[in-house]
């Protein structure tokens, strides 16, 4: 079995021997102490556990970690919720990324269990709109389609939606 290694939040992870039965979320939590990614349904239904995979061709996607083993991420470049905020020299977060800030300001979440998944997916949406802006009138449908697979048991989605819509509209160049 080849040793598992990958780049997480721009840091190369030490190669380690790992059982093929370990799911990615378990690897993040138990081996790397990255506990920000949340385990919700464990069946690929709620998207709470999604992280970002940046592919070599410049595209990125949001991938579930509860149903895919750690080994399926072999050699990949990934981003988790811990990687979004700017850190100081001591490693403490000093500035949230725009999506995190918008969600916090609008009180988008309550228990926060679903938030890492929403944040990753919304961050990807912002990046995608930077490359390919869309018409303003299409924005609401576009956001709904994008967040469709994310479940939240507390908030009723309205504030997530609103925060993201306001954020996108406030940034130049994301809509036409």
């Amino acid at each position: 079995m080849p040793k598992l290694t990958m780049t997480i939040n721009n840091k190369q992870i030490e190669p380690m021997e790992i059982s093929e039965e370990i799911m990615m979320i378990e690897y993040l939590h138990e081996y790397l102490n990255l506990t920000g990614t949340k385990f919700g349904c464990g069946q690929g239904e709620c998207s709470a556990c999604e992280i970002i995979v940046d592919h070599k061709d410049g595209t990125s996607e949001s991938v579930k970690t509860c149903i895919n083993s750690a080994l399926t991420f072999q050699g990949k470049k990934i981003r988790t919720i811990e990687g979004h905020a700017k850190k100081n020299a001591k490693g403490y977060a000093v500035k949230l990324n725009p999506v995190q800030e918008a969600f916090a300001k609008q009180f988008s979440f309550q228990c926060g269990w679903c938030t890492p998944g929403f944040t990753n997916r919304a961050t990807l949406l912002l990046e995608e709109l930077e490359k390919n802006p869309i018409k303003k009138e299409d924005l609401r449908t576009h956001i709904s389609e994008h967040l469709n697979s994310h479940l939240c048991r507390c908030t009723g989605y309205v504030k997530y939606f609103k925060a993201l819509e306001d954020l996108i509209l406030s940034k130049k160049g994301l809509t036409l």
């Binding site: 093929e20 039965e21 799911m23 349904c41 464990g42 069946q43 690929g44 239904e45 579930k64 509860c66 149903i67 895919n68 083993s69 080994l71 399926t72």
Partner: protein
């Protein structure tokens, strides 16, 4: 006073008997309509119950089911018993021949007694005024006169005859499967005239993107189904041998889950051609081959739900060990679930299954995974080449595309 009571009794008694006879007949008809699954085909999504409007996609265009509620104008409320009988048995409606999307090529076997009960029930349901939709059938198939010729060739007028050397249970199953249950309409391949190919009865068929698997006893026994497994899959949509899929889900929900245990057992007994329970075999798990290229694909994408040894999770994910869907020469339904995923299936408060996501595997990965699943969890002993898997994949995708258009 005494005289008055006697008089009342004399007048009322026949009425009471009549009413209770009617209620019994209506109740029986309601039960039979569940087996025939009239509701599912005659109730559109968000439409009125029995109001029709469900599209049937055929190679000649879309046919829409009609309103069969007791409404005198929009439905069949004005049908006499004879007219109702003819619609069911001969495919002749009041306004002309019916398209064989209505399974009269199976319903012709329904007994008079059962037809009477069905009639009583259909006439008792709430009338709904939902208008029928025009069919979208291309020329020359839109000329209904052609259906007369089709019926002449493909429709029999024989009555159901129980097989003499078989038990009552088997024959009840035979009747239910082949008449009311109209299982062959999907599970029997069609001939060049699009009629059920009688020589290949229940052999399995590709229909709107899915394989309606073989229900022949030889194949069911090879896949190690027992009477109990078959009853379970019909009643609950799942069993030790796996779950149902696609179009079979609403059939379980509306129809088979409402059928009595006794009738389900009869159907299972007919399908397995056995009155007694057949030998129960352990679920197949042949052990993992860690050097096989399919092993890391299996552990990578399947195990969190289907279990490291293919044991599944009760009421969430079916076991892969001994799974009949996997245990077929042409594993099209397995590939279909991998490519398109499965939506949640909810039968009742206590019986529901989670969804399965779709996977975008390369053809090489798909070949390795399918071969690994079949090698590990079945005894079918087949290894597919990349070209075979590519051809299967094309068949699956084409089937789904046709189903959507």
């Amino acid at each position: 006073m005494k005289k008055l009571t006697i008089l009342w009794t004399i007048f009322l008694f026949p009425l009471v008997v009549c009413a209770s006879k009617d209620t019994t007949l209506i109740k029986k008809g309601e039960y039979l309509s569940k087996i025939a699954d009239c509701f599912a085909c005659h109730t559109a999504d968000k439409g009125e119950p029995y109001g029709g409007g469900v599209p049937f996609i055929t190679p000649f265009g879309n046919v829409y089911s009609t309103n069969i509620s007791s409404d005198k104008k929009a439905g069949i409320g004005s049908y006499t018993y004879e007219e109702f009988y003819d619609a069911l048995h001969k495919g002749i409606g009041k306004h002309g021949n019916l398209y064989p999307a209505m399974p009269f090529t199976s319903f012709y076997l329904i007994t008079d007694e059962d037809t009477k009960a069905l009639y009583a029930y259909m006439m008792s349901i709430k009338p709904v005024s939902q208008k029928n939709r025009d069919n979208e059938i291309s020329f020359p198939f839109n000329i209904r006169a052609g259906l007369k010729t089709w019926n002449l060739v493909n429709l029999s007028n024989e009555k159901f005859v129980p097989e003499e050397d078989k038990s009552e249970k088997y024959n009840r199953g035979n009747y239910l499967i082949n008449s009311l249950g109209h299982c062959g309409e999907c599970h029997t391949p069609r001939n060049s005239m699009m009629a059920m190919d009688k020589k290949r009865k229940l052999e399995g068929n590709l229909i709107v993107g899915y394989v309606a698997p073989s229900l022949q006893s030889v194949e069911l026994r090879r896949q190690e189904w027992t009477l109990k497994d078959l009853v379970s899959v019909m009643k609950n949509g799942y069993s030790r041998r796996g779950t149902v899929l696609g179009h079979m889900t609403p059939i379980i929900y509306h129809s088979l889950s409402n059928v009595s245990h006794e009738d389900l057992e009869a159907m299972a007994s007919y399908l397995l051609d056995s009155d007694e329970e057949v030998e129960t075999k352990a679920l197949t798990f042949n052990g993992h081959d860690k050097k096989d290229p399919g092993y890391l694909l299996y552990t990578g994408y399947c195990t969190s739900c289907h279990g490291i040894n293919g044991e599944g999770i009760p009421n969430t994910t079916p076991a892969l060990a001994g799974n009949a869907t996997l245990n077929t020469k042409k594993p099209l339904n397995t590939m279909l679930t991998i490519i398109y995923g499965i939506k949640n299936e909810r039968y009742s408060q206590t019986n529901a299954f989670g969804h399965m996501p779709s996977y975008n595997f390369t053809d090489e990965e798909m070949t390795n995974l399918i071969n690994y699943l079949q090698k590990t969890f079945t005894n079918i002993g087949i290894k597919h080449s990349l070209e075979e898997i590519q051809a299967f994949k094309e068949e699956v995708i084409k089937g789904m595309e046709n189903a959507e258009h």
